[in-house]
Amino acid sequence: MIKRRTFLKVAATATAGALAAPYVHAESKKFSGITLRVNGYGGLYDEALKKSVAAPLEERYGLKVQFIAGTTSADFVKLIANRDNPPYDLFMGDSPNMVELTKAGMIEEIRASEVPNVKRILPDFREFGHYGVPFSVASVIPVYNSKYIKPPIASYSDIARPDLVGRAVVMAPATYGSLLTLLGLADENGGSIENVEPAFKIMSAAKTNIVALAQTNVAEIQMFQNEEVYAGIFWDGRAHELRTKGLPIVTVVPPKGVYSVTTYINVVKGNKYPEAAYAYAEQLLSDEGVLGVPRALRYGVTTDVTLPEELRRDLLFNSQGRIALKKKVDWEKLIANRSAWTEELNKIIRS
């Protein structure tokens, strides 16, 4: 015989469940039928985002995300050429792209009221006010093959060391990696973004060392793998990739500071599904989302997420002390100087 109190409890729960069911169902189907288009970086990067961001969103809300792989500069041109009918709902871009995007007026501001996880972003990682949501950070650092390079490389400027003749690689002029390398060299030799002359002097001295200027990350990886080069300046995540391929590549943390580029997700102005786009940004900044890229590529995180031990070991920015080494960059000035610096670097290398 069921007691009156038990009966009332069961009945109340059943009624509440019955009443809430349509809402729960509605929540799970909130973005059903919607597909967000995001410009992709291709390969492992997009795969990581699909796994850590797109898949949970689809499971939770029925929201689909389509990554369209391409090069960011070409995607950006596509975006501004189709201002009235943007080809992407979300636009992924690095810090330098953010200057162009904000200048072109193509992206929406994102505040904590729309994306609560924005509050979790570490200080100094959000470089453009309320524009863009930073979710990953890649650093340009000196790397070397410890099998061949014996006195360890310790700074960006060591690229000009005499024992590296014909054995070094740097990133091609006009790439962000190359521009950040110049800043690192300038900084180590008494220069700054206002005065990169010291960096050009080091590059002139390193000219005989530099075998090639890698056009792509794949090309630079191949140069290290084929032992065309033993030392160079590269992205931290890519150095880790080389280590996973069995190469004894050592990552150097320059003591005067590290130059990095942050990757942002942006909500494109005029997109049809702003709420779904904000949900994407929220998931991207969640623990699950923000650890997706580091798990696959060992690029740094931008939030207060607790790093699992295997990631903490490998990531460059794995402590407060390391994060303090991250140099602030005036991206607008960097973009303004890009042409002139690229031209000068080309002249030095090809002279």
């Binding site: 090639a212 065309e228 080309n346 290398i349």
Partner: protein, 293 residues
């Protein structure tokens, strides 16, 4: 009855040509004018376009670096074209003299590289020319070299890869013209006691000139506009204008400067090919006149 027939004679070719002309106007002429307009912008950014200025052109011609890159690009184009001619002429000639069934498979082999993606070809060459590549392995095993040589990221490497890429254009151009030369002419020259070299110099070469010039033009134009090969095989150390234009437009988003460089390359490239064609035409007319007498 004659009037509709006459109008049909005019209309039919026009209608047949219309789709191609429309396509060219929409996707070549209009964008080209857009690029030409961009080259006269004074700003150095895609988003800042307004006004009219010769700044980009003045900057190009006032800096000796760019003039030297333009010069080197043309020199490389000529070297690649000459090497392709040296290798392509005998191949094209021998193919032309084969029976069509015997020629078929050989032509497929010649055009096979054109069916592959350029990036795949270039990465293949990166492996072949690398320190641990096939060429270095041969050099080491044959004792020619005692340690691996740095073959990549140099001008010879870029020229080698460009030759491999564009050789089929030379072979096919030469072959298509040589097939039109009646072998009887070569037999007649032999009957007149011309040796093989004299026949080749005085009969085959003059008659094959249109094919040679067509092939030369094609290879030259493709070489001077190359940008993937100089960037990846040259490791950015080999200066060619195509790769600078790519860098300006795609990496720096400096469309005005890139557009100006593109037009300088276009006009100077057309100038060189027009001069070559004029030379070829005058030579053919002279030969024709001599034979007419």
């Amino acid at each position: 009855m004659e009037e509709p027939l006459a109008s049909r004679r005019v209309l039919t070719p026009a209608l047949l040509l219309a789709p191609m002309i429309l396509l060219l106007v929409l996707f070549l002429i209009v964008p080209t004018f857009g690029l030409l307009r961009a080259s006269f912008l004074s700003e150095s950014h895609l988003l800042d376009g307004s006004g009219f200025s010769l700044k980009q052109y003045i900057r190009f011609f006032s800096d000796s670096y760019y003039s030297s890159v333009l010069f080197e690009t043309f020199v490389d184009g000529i070297i690649v074209s000459l090497i392709c001619l040296g290798i392509g002429f005998p191949t094209g000639y021998s193919l032309a003299r084969l029976s069509p069934p015997a020629r078929r498979w050989r032509i497929i082999i010649v055009i096979m590289p054109l069916t592959l993606s350029l990036v795949v070809i270039v990465f293949g060459w990166l492996i072949i020319l690398g320190r641990n590549g096939v060429i270095n392995a041969l050099l080491l095993s044959s004792g020619i070299a005692s340690s691996p040589k740095q073959l990549l990221f140099s001008r010879p490497a870029v020229i080698t890869v460009l030759v491999q890429q564009f050789l089929p254009f030379m072979i096919l151009s030469v072959m298509s013209v040589v097939t039109q030369i009646d072998p009887v002419l070569e037999h007649a020259a032999a009957n007149l006691r011309a040796n093989r070299f004299a026949t080749f110099r005085k009969v085959v070469i003059p008659l094959a000139l249109p094919g040679i010039f067509a092939g030369f033009n094609l290879v030259f134009v493709l070489s001077i506009s190359a940008f993937i090969t100089p960037r990846l095989i040259g490791g950015n150390r080999v200066a060619m204008l195509g790769s600078l234009i790519y860098e300006r437009i795609m990496a720096e988003l400096n469309w005005p400067s890139g557009a100006a460089m593109a037009f300088i390359l276009l006009v100077s490239g057309l100038g060189v090919t027009a001069t070559l064609n004029a030379l070829a035409a005058s030579r053919l007319v002279r030969k024709g006149g001599r034979y007419a007498r």
